[in-house]
């Protein structure tokens, strides 16, 4: 066997093991190191389900996929080229996704008869030909780890817990990554438990050395760093984390303090968790008794002069809708984040879906328009959160920002914004009693924000319709129409400050792919691959879903066909069809709790183009 360094531009690894095997940690460490090395990357953790399944079962399998490259990439990869399988259940539920000829590293230490039974296997897939066509590396990682840690003070259970770092060491060797960042991390993480730091470090090094020593793999790979990467500072970031930072940044850019009223719900909980760490940024987080209290405290806080926010997922958004209507009629700024998950009802709570668009647009009683936006990638979540804060405060309106759990738990390198170039949008509270009325509006139709405690501005707002001039309760029919029209015009006016999203591809042609949310990566990668193969197609990714930017029709007009791939039954397509009836929006839908893969989109787009010709 040879072990020269083979250059490879694009690798996808999937770590799979039991929920207790620490695969998420292994994946994250590999990711952090890979980011530091200067690769572009995208990740996708895939938890089994909310509930803990018995160890060793198929339901208990936890996976973490990382796609890294010396080029820009947009997705965590379709088919992995390397699979790490820590037990039979992990192997059997994952091997089919692997590329033909891919490498499988198997921990044979977990392939006893009992292990096979737990995975509902009658025969051992390592021996029955199941894996023919793959390059299988069998290693008793359990035993190797035990050997490596001989003589430590740890009990057997704790020793075995280190096997993920042993494995990580092997993978670091295989892909020529430095082990130092992980060593540092371990030292910090276990500063108070040096015996644990030591054990994991020993395991990591042992795995690395073992791979080198025994030449386990047929070769060793190098994935050079991205060369044409824009200069600047970078940081690896997860979607929920970027969103949390963006919310804090957005508030600061509005010159306001955050008030986050929330209630835990997968996959949005992290945002609340991240923000509850921001106490020294004067960020208030209140975990309330339910979603309704979460949004209502945020509304109260906005009334009091903070920037009210609330974070949730689909079922929680459903509960908040009545209160959001109150924010619409009182015209208070409010940022509502919905990290979508698969439904209906509780559905598949840890799986991805983008099916809350129509709920966001229309899920309120009566005419209660508000702006809706959605983020495309983990790093984009930062920009979108800032944008949501901008719109909320500049237009005095609730805003819904849609993310999903593919973005939320995925990670990618984030090019940090240049602090000097951030365009702040400071709020000016009303302070002048002269001519004050709560519904005085500016040119954008936003009403003035006068906070309690300001002398001479005492006023009352609320859920009853108000006179457009005095702000008093009004039952006047014409006034109602005026206010309904004003609220709608204000929201539509947001279109004046946003622009058409960039086109990935020519600005006219046979096929326009209009996508939104986390389908970004798959849609863009699919289209770019087609372009490379000489087929013209263009991808346009919508950040603003209500209102749409001006001028979309001019773009639509220039394409023969428009297709809208969505992880739902066709929600954006529905909205586009209603608003641009002169064009035909073709749906391409998938509702399986899984993201699109670039190759499946590409195959579909190619089919469309063939049909046409």
């Amino acid at each position: 066997m040879s072990s020269e360094l083979t250059r490879q531009d694009d690798v996808t690894i999937r770590f799979a093991g039991d929920s207790g095997d620490g695969m998420q940690l292994t994946g994250t460490q590999f990711t952090e190191t890979t980011a530091k090395v200067g690769n572009d990357l995208a990740t996708f953790p895939d938890y089994p389900s909310e509930i803990r399944a018995p160890a060793g079962t198929r339901a208990g399998v936890s996976g973490y996929q990382i796609h890294f490259s010396s080029r820009d990439i947009y997705t965590p990869g379709d088919a992995p080229s390397v699979l790490v399988a820590m037990n039979p259940a992990a192997l059997i539920t994952n091997y089919k996704d692997l590329q033909p000829g891919g490498i499988i590293l198997v921990n044979t230490g977990a392939f006893t008869e009992k292990d096979l039974q737990k995975a509902e296997l009658d025969v051992n897939p390592l021996t029955d030909g199941t894996l023919s066509g793959f390059r299988v590396i069998e290693e008793d990682i359990n035993q190797r780890t035990i050997e490596a840690l001989e003589g430590t003070s740890l009990g057997k259970k704790d020793v075995l817990r280190c096997k993920n770092f042993y494995t990580l060491g092997m993978m670091y060797w295989l892909f020529s990554r430095p082990i130092e960042p992980t060593l540092e991390w371990l030292n910090v993480k276990f500063a108070k438990k040096p015996e644990l730091a030591d054990a994991n470090i020993r395991a990591l090094k042992a795995g690395y050395n073992y791979a080198e020593l025994l030449r386990l793999f047929q070769g060793r790979y190098e994935v050079p760093k991205v060369e044409d990467v824009a200069p600047g500072f970078y940081r690896n970031v997860m979607g929920n984390q970027a969103l949390a930072i963006g919310l804090a940044a957005g508030a600061e850019m509005a010159n306001l303090k955050v008030f986050l009223g929330s209630y835990p719900i997968t996959p949005a909980t992290d945002i609340l968790q991240y923000m509850s760490l921001m106490k020294n940024y004067d960020v208030i987080t209140c975990q309330m008794e339910d979603e309704i209290a979460g949004v209502c405290t945020a509304i109260g806080a906005s009334f009091a002069g903070r920037l009210g926010m609330t974070t949730t997922s689909g079922p929680g958004l459903a509960l908040k809708t009545e209160a959001i209507g109150l924010a619409v009629i009182t015209e208070l700024p409010l940022v509502i984040v919905d990290v979508q998950r698969a439904g209906p009802s509780t559905g598949l709570p840890t799986k991805v879906e983008q099916a809350d668009l129509l709920q966001s647009m229309f899920g309120r009683n009566s005419e209660a328009p508000l702006p809706v936006l959605s983020c495309a990638t983990p790093a984009d979540a930062f920009d979108c959160a800032v944008e949501a804060c901008r719109i909320a405060t500049q237009y005095m309106t609730p805003v819904i920002l849609l993310s999903d759990n593919y973005i939320a738990n995925g990670a990618e390198p984030w090019k940090l914004p240049d602090m000097d170039k951030l365009e702040h949008f400071p709020v000016e509270f009303v302070t002048d009693p002269e001519g004050f009325s709560p519904y005085n509006r500016d040119a954008k139709l936003a009403r003035g924000w006068a906070k309690p405690g300001t002398p001479g501005l005492a006023h009352r707002i609320g859920g009853l319709e108000k006179d457009s001039k005095t702000g008093n309760v009004s039952h006047d029919p014409d006034n109602h129409q005026v206010m309904v029209d004003l609220r709608l015009a204000k929201v539509n006016g947001v279109a004046d400050t946003i622009s058409i999203p960039p086109l990935n591809g020519p600005d006219s042609g046979d096929l326009l792919v209009v996508a939104w949310g986390s389908s970004y990566g798959a849609a863009r990668a699919a289209v770019e691959r087609m372009q490379k193969e000489g087929v013209t197609a263009t991808h346009m990714h919508m950040r603003h879903l209500r209102p749409f930017p001006h001028g979309l029709a001019d773009i639509f007009r220039k394409f023969k066909r428009i297709v809208v791939p969505e992880l739902n039954m066709g929600q954006l397509a529905y909205v586009l069809q209603a608003e641009y009836p002169e064009f035909r929006f073709e749906k391409y839908n998938k509702v399986k709790g899984k993201p699109f893969q670039a190759r499946e989109l590409k195959a579909h787009f190619e089919k469309l183009l063939e049909e046409k010709s």
Binding site: K36, C296, A304, G305, P452, R460
Partner: protein, 332 residues
Amino acid sequence: MSDVQQLKGKDFKSNQEVRWCPGCGDYSIISSVQSILAELGRDKDNVVMVSGIGCSSRFPYYMGTYGFHGIHGRANAIATGVKVANPDLDTWVITGDGDGLSIGGNHMIHSLRRNVNLKIILFNNEIYGLTKGQYSPTTPQGQKTKTSPFGSVDAPFNPLQLALGAGATFAARTLDVRPKHMKAVLKAAAEHNGAAFVEVWQNCVIFNDGAFKHWSEKKVRDDQTVDLVAGQPMIFGAEKEKGLRSEGCQIQVVSADEASIWDPTVESPGPGFLMSQLDKDPSMPRPFGVFRQVEAPTLDDLVHDQISEVTDKLGEGSLKDLIYTPDSWEVK
């Protein structure tokens, strides 16, 4: 800033016409609130009145302070947001037996357990007024209302027991027809540092007239009610001739000179809870006044104290710190 010292009750009025039915108990409550705010020298630009939906919840529109007329049942949650966002604001919750105990019951009990520094006035008319006469969670079992034409089958809450069970640090009861008593109770509430729950028995002349007449009418009042006054014996009767004596879990009617002294400031909510149990006993007078009044840290203080502590420890964060963390790297 307005010279708050000189404000009168009427200075707390807004310019909006008050639109409760003539004779409604709400009038006396609003004027009591207005006058105690004036008496306490509160600044009307610093007061926020938050309500839900119901006849009573129109209250903020009639006050010259800041006000928020929310949605049904959510006043406590909205007010929690106001108070925690800005603890300097003198924040009041105005709610009804439907608004605050039916749809809003959960926010009520949670704001009490968290001890949010809110002054909560629950207008209890034992009926849904605004929607024209359906039973509420305080309507007596068996009462015929629009939605219980054959008598309500629901057992009602005892609002004080619910509040005490939820951990209220201040719980009191008063009546619309006794403005003096009401003002004393409201003042105590206003000065309590923490969540203050005040149940006010309020007559709805239209849909539940006379619900409280056995305790509110002049001729029976003295015999049928007893005032709980901190540090005073619990005496009642037309001639102040009777008293309550609490022996263990038993409360008995005795002569005035044998009456026990009432102390709402004992740490345990037990005595107040036992006292409110008298409501179940037709042979006993109904107690009014402050049932519990104890000191405990408020949520709003705790939130801001924690922010200060953490900031002292970690240093004030800047936007840049948040974005440029140590794990970032530079590409040149």
